[in-house]
């Protein structure tokens, strides 16, 4: 089962160029025939023997370049595990994961770290920011860690887009929840990564802030060709994506392109009806999600 819009598996020149970080600022529509990340026959099994829990069963997935992909499923469906595997935070038990052309499987910790630093952006549900750093320092942190000279024009653009101009000198403790998530988004965008993984980015926000964040994410895909993968259980959030993947019991069980909230809700009801219920197999590793 390959749930992919694209039939091409090799990264296009456009995505390769983006991985090098030389995408122009222009609001052009990017090519959509590249693959930013993919999983091939991925299994993830926790424990062994009787206590064995299968989180992912032979998952194949391709994340299209320059698109906003949402991964949905009930808790325990394996959606977070899949994201962690794709982002190089977790190892697969079997199968292979690629970011661009780079095979993550078997990479050393230091190479994985560098890959995360240079080519992946993260937005987590909470605790996204370092309390000791100002908003601006948090945004620049991945660049500082890498010792890269920041592209000030690009940073200014991000800050402006995220409407953070007045908040740059503040520490996270003095920012609202929505502002904190905007800083986290800005940080993820700062390095112009090949993929941004967002893990329930609006899970802790009120609906106004949520709308704002989701709008920003969608805009960055539309305006800057950013590739985003978002894990969520909120159908409304997922409706901002170009494409929604449904996970249940460690398998991909469906997808919707250009979804609406109603379509997603219908599909989720359908999943419940199959008895492949969300609470059927609570999986390990879902702690914070």
């Amino acid at each position: 089962m390959v749930f992919s819009e694209s039939t091409r598996t090799e990264g296009s020149e456009a995505s390769a160029a983006r991985e090098r970080g030389d995408v122009g600022l222009g609001a052009r529509r990017p090519d959509q025939d590249g693959t930013a990340a993919r999983a091939v026959g991925v299994w993830k099994v926790y424990g062994s023997g009787e206590s064995e829990v299968v989180a992912l069963r032979d998952v194949d997935v391709e994340i299209a370049t320059g698109r906003f992909t949402a991964i949905m499923g009930a808790s325990g469906s394996g959606k977070s595990t899949l994201m962690h595997c794709l982002a190089g935070l977790d190892e697969t038990t079997r199968g292979e994961v690629f970011v661009g052309d780079t095979k993550l499987t078997g990479l050393s910790d230091s190479k994985l770290t560098r890959l995360r630093r240079d080519r992946i952006g993260f937005v987590f549900q909470q605790f996204n920011l370092l309390p000791t750093l100002t908003a601006e320092e948090n945004i620049r942190l991945p660049l500082d860690i890498a010792g890269r000279r920041p592209d000030t024009e690009w940073l200014a653009t991000i800050v402006k887009t995220m409407r953070l101009e007045d908040r740059l000198g503040h520490r996270p403790a003095h920012l609202s929840g929505g502002e904190q998530q905007r800083v986290a988004c800005a940080r993820a965008l700062a390095t112009r990564p090949a993929v941004i993984f967002a893990d329930e980015p609006t899970g802790n926000l009120d609906s106004r802030s949520s709308t704002e964040i989701l709008g920003f994410l969608r805009d960055s895909v539309r305006d800057h060709g950013q590739t985003i993968v978002m894990v969520t259980h909120d159908p409304k959030a997922a409706s901002y994506a170009d494409r929604v993947l449904f996970l249940s019991d460690g398998r991909i069980v469906g997808e919707i392109l250009q979804p609406t909230t109603e379509q997603i809700l219908d599909r989720l009801k359908g999943l419940d009806a199959t008895g492949d219920g969300p609470e059927a197999a609570p999986l390990h590793g879902e702690g914070a999600l």
Partner: protein, 849 residues
């Protein structure tokens, strides 16, 4: 969640372990010190009781000037031997001569043989007995023959037939070694001492300076007479003119003297144990504060379901008691082992292989260890326990908000305590605390100052720590680490305070010692016009001396303008014990030292005449022209005239008389000489020429002024090194405290660390970050310690200005070393927490709760 709880529990255990370790180290020091001194005391007493086995009754004289270990020995006339021989019940009567450091041997390398503080006895040879036996050769029969003990033979390599040079009351003389002797049980020495045995006439002349006298007469009893009976008969015969003691009494007396010496040793060791425990208090305080903060919800819940405040305090204190007891048990056990080991090392390497008494644990060590260990832990946990009791029940329902409490109260209290401590310290230093209270005032003042300063550290941490952290601001891991160190000023402050204490003490000591050297240089530069000084370093009861002929020969060296030779003795002036100097040329002396006459004249000092400084004169209420009664080490007391009173000068102090009086000094040899060169003469050339004159006086050397100061203050370096070694313990404990704080921070910030790793911080960068945090905390502590130490040291030097501290000297190199030491401590402390942090699984860390 279960896993997280387990993890937290485990880390909690580790944290307990490291704060318990602080108590373990402190208790170890206490029990170690007590076991060490107890073992040494019992070992030496056993040796003494054997040493006096052969003596039933000893008769000795009453010293004219009782200066103890440093004084001249009292003598008894040789005729006493015959008189005692006639006492019924006396079987063997032997006159003995023996003086501590009376015979210093010149080794084959030309240097005077030292014995690490053990005495270098000179004795008369009284033949073999059950106690002393010859290992080789025979006893001395001619006055140029000696026998030496096995210890001396082994350490110097002198054998029977060798020529050996010995310094006594007389200048260097050459003897032939005719015998090597040992003691019962095939021992070469009893406790590392060296011994040279002369013929009796030679011993009397060389060791006592008077023919036909002994230091003691030993009497062995006939069968059927007890020691006490014999003693009583002898007392009846001689009256109260002599000291008559049984062997048992002498053994007990020696044991008592030894205990006095060891007591001092014990106080020093216990002092450092105290410092270690004081530092440990900070560690325990921090640990319990953190535990209480983490358990806030749990404690609030307990309050909500009806636990009283007292119960909360009791529960925290109970935990502290458990930690205290466990740590005391371990510390006590380790301390007994360490004390025993140190006693063995002392006996083997310094004590010349004294036989160690079997292991016994003094009760004081048991009581001391447990009282100290449990009390310290419980007292340190009291503040956190009281804080726990103040947690309102409603906190159970709230998100644990650890609001940054204002530092005003602790800062004001800290300032008050520091001031009170400073005042007490000052009173102790300047003698305002009253007679005999000075030391107590000093210690209490020091304790208060250290405590007060520790209370001030949180408010200092706020402005200072970010500045220290800013050093690393241009390096991302460094910047992160620097910011982390400034996150919790209280925690950083308590952690740094632990390091501050040890470094403040050692810095203070360094400053005082440096001030001694600087002041001495200052005084000599201003007051002393001598270009060269002949002197040596005193290592035992006798000052280093040289042949009086050297003075005349030096005077004859072309280019030498003036020479003042100084002799020294301990005598009585109007009944009060004091040092009395004799000089060869009073006119030259007062010119050389810039002395001015306040009353009378300082010129032409002759026999039977004295000059004295104005303070001493004032305290005795005497003036120029008055007379005083003077008793020197030898001869009879007589009346002297004060011909002059000199104005106070830092270079010279006390009574000065003419050289002629030195004949009645214990040693009729000069101890120092001050030399002034003629105008235009090369001091360097003179130094070389004079050095050549000192070939036969190996105890002294000729130096220029700065060399003289160096020589006279060399022993201070040893003092400093010892203090540094002992304070190392407190620095180790402070290091543990930093490890503890960091380990805790790592756990608290797990999620943050996970985030950093997720967005690309590499392991090495993460470790650097923690290293910087640690270094900033440690350098902060070291900086506080250095500043506080300089203040304490300078205040001490200032308070003792009347005692000759004219200048305050700062040992810059040492101060920088201590700061660097802080940085090193920081780096070392970060290793384990950094490795733990680097090993965190990124995913587990992000999702950690």
């Amino acid at each position: 969640m279960v896993r997280a709880t387990m993890k937290s529990l485990l880390s909690h255990k580790l944290r307990m372990l490291s704060s318990a370790l602080a108590v373990v180290l402190g208790v170890m020091a206490v029990s170690g010190a007590l076991v060490l001194t107890d073992t040494l005391s019992r070992s030496y007493k056993a040796m003494f009781s054997t040493a006096f086995d052969n003596t039933d009754v000893a008769v000795s004289g009453v010293p004219k000037v009782d200066a103890g270990y440093y004084g001249a020995p009292a003598t008894v006339p040789a005729s006493l031997v015959d008189r005692l021989g006639r006492v019924p019940g006396a079987s063997r009567v032997v006159g003995t001569v023996g003086t501590v450091d009376g015979a210093r041997v010149v080794g084959k390398d030309g240097k005077v043989v030292t014995s690490f503080g053990a005495p270098r006895f000179g004795v008369n040879w009284t033949g073999e007995d059950p106690y002393v036996n010859l290992q080789a050769g025979r006893g001395p029969q001619a006055d140029d023959e000696v026998a030496i003990n096995g210890g001396l033979a082994k350490s110097t390599g002198y054998q029977v037939g060798d020529r050996i040079d010995v310094l006594t009351l007389q200048p260097r003389q050459t003897f032939t070694v005719v015998g090597v002797f040992g003691y019962y049980g095939n021992r070469d020495s009893l406790a590392g001492e060296t011994m040279v045995a002369f013929t009796t006439p030679a011993a009397q002349r060389l060791l006592l300076g008077t023919p036909n006298v002994f230091t003691a007469v030993n009497v062995t009893r006939a069968p059927g007479v007890t020691q006490q009976q014999l003693r009583d008969r002898i007392v009846a015969e001689l009256g109260s003119q002599y000291r008559v003691k049984t062997g048992q009494e002498l053994a007990a007396e020696s044991g008592q003297q030894l205990d006095e010496g060891l007591k001092f040793f014990n106080y020093i060791l216990l002092g450092f144990a105290f410092v270690a425990l004081f530092v440990g208090v900070f560690l325990i305080l921090n640990t319990f504060s953190i535990i209480v903060a983490q358990r806030m919800r749990e404690l609030a819940l307990m309050r909500a379901v009806g636990a009283s405040r007292v119960q909360i305090v009791a529960s925290v204190e109970a935990e502290a008691a458990v930690v205290g007891v466990v740590a005391s048990v371990v510390g006590f056990g380790v301390g007994v082992g360490v004390g025993r080991l140190l006693a063995w090392m002392y006996a083997t390497f310094l004590g010349g292989g004294v036989a160690l008494a079997p292991l016994e644990v003094p009760l004081s060590a048991v009581y001391g260890s447990f009282a100290v260990g449990v009390l310290v832990t419980m007292v340190a946990a009291l503040l956190p326990a009281l804080r726990a009791a103040r947690i309102p029940p409603v906190a159970a329902m709230r998100e644990a908000a650890t609001a940054d409490r204002p530092l005003t109260r602790i800062t004001v209290a800290g300032a008050a305590v520091t001031l009170a401590g400073g005042g007490t310290l000052w009173a102790g230093l300047t003698g305002h605390a009253g007679q005999g209270n000075s030391l107590v005032a000093l210690l209490i003042g020091l304790l208060l100052v250290l405590t007060g300063a520790a209370m001030l550290t949180p408010s200092l941490a706020r402005p200072v720590v970010p500045v220290l952290g800013a050093v690393f601001a241009n390096w991302t891991p460094g910047r992160l680490g620097g910011r982390n160190s400034a996150r919790n000023p209280r925690r950083t402050a308590v952690t740094a305070s632990a390091l501050m204490v040890g470094i403040a003490l050692i810095t203070g000591i360094s400053v005082v010692l440096t001030s001694v050297t600087v002041s001495m240089n200052h005084i000599l530069d201003k007051q002393m016009h001598a270009d060269l000084v002949i002197a040596g370093e005193q290592s035992g009861p006798l000052p280093p001396t040289f042949d009086a002929e050297v003075l005349d020969r030096t005077r004859a060296v072309p280019g030498v303008a003036e020479v003042v030779g100084v002799y020294a003795d301990t005598g009585l002036v109007n009944g009060g014990q004091t040092t009395i100097a004799a000089i060869t040329d009073s006119t030259a002396m007062h010119e050389m030292f810039g002395m001015t006459a306040k009353e009378g004249t300082l010129d032409g000092l002759g026999a039977g005449q004295l000059v004295v400084d104005e303070k001493t004169a004032q305290s005795l209420g005497v003036h120029a022209g008055d007379t005083v009664r003077v008793q020197l080490s030898k001869g009879e007391a007589s009346t002297y005239t004060i011909t002059g009173v000199y104005s106070q000068t830092p270079g010279v102090i006390g009574w000065v008389t003419a050289q002629a009086e030195a004949a009645n000094f214990r040693i009729d040899q000069p101890t120092k000489a001050f030399i002034e060169a003629s105008k235009g003469a090369s001091v360097t050339a003179l130094k070389t020429q004079i050095a050549a004159l000192l070939v036969d006086s190996p105890e002294v050397s000729v130096t220029d002024r700065s060399g003289y100061v160096q020589q006279q203050t060399r022993s201070l370096d040893t003092v400093l090194a010892m203090m540094q070694m002992l304070l190392a313990l407190s620095i180790i404990i402070a290091l543990l405290g930093i490890v503890n704080t960091l380990a805790l921070s790592v756990i608290e910030r797990t999620r943050e660390l996970g985030l950093l790793r997720a967005i690309g911080l590499r392991r090495r960068q993460l470790m650097s970050m923690i290293g910087v945090e640690s270094t900033v905390i440690a350098v902060f502590g070291a900086l506080l310690g250095v500043v506080l130490g300089v203040a304490l040291g300078a205040a001490t030097a200032r308070g003792l200005r009347d005692q000759g501290f004219t200048t305050i000297g700062l040992p810059w190199a040492q101060l920088l070393t201590y700061l660097a030491l802080g940085a090193i401590v920081g780096v070392i402390a970060s290793v384990v927490p950094a490795i733990r942090a680097a090993r965190l699984n990124v995913l587990a860390a992000i999702t950690y709760e």
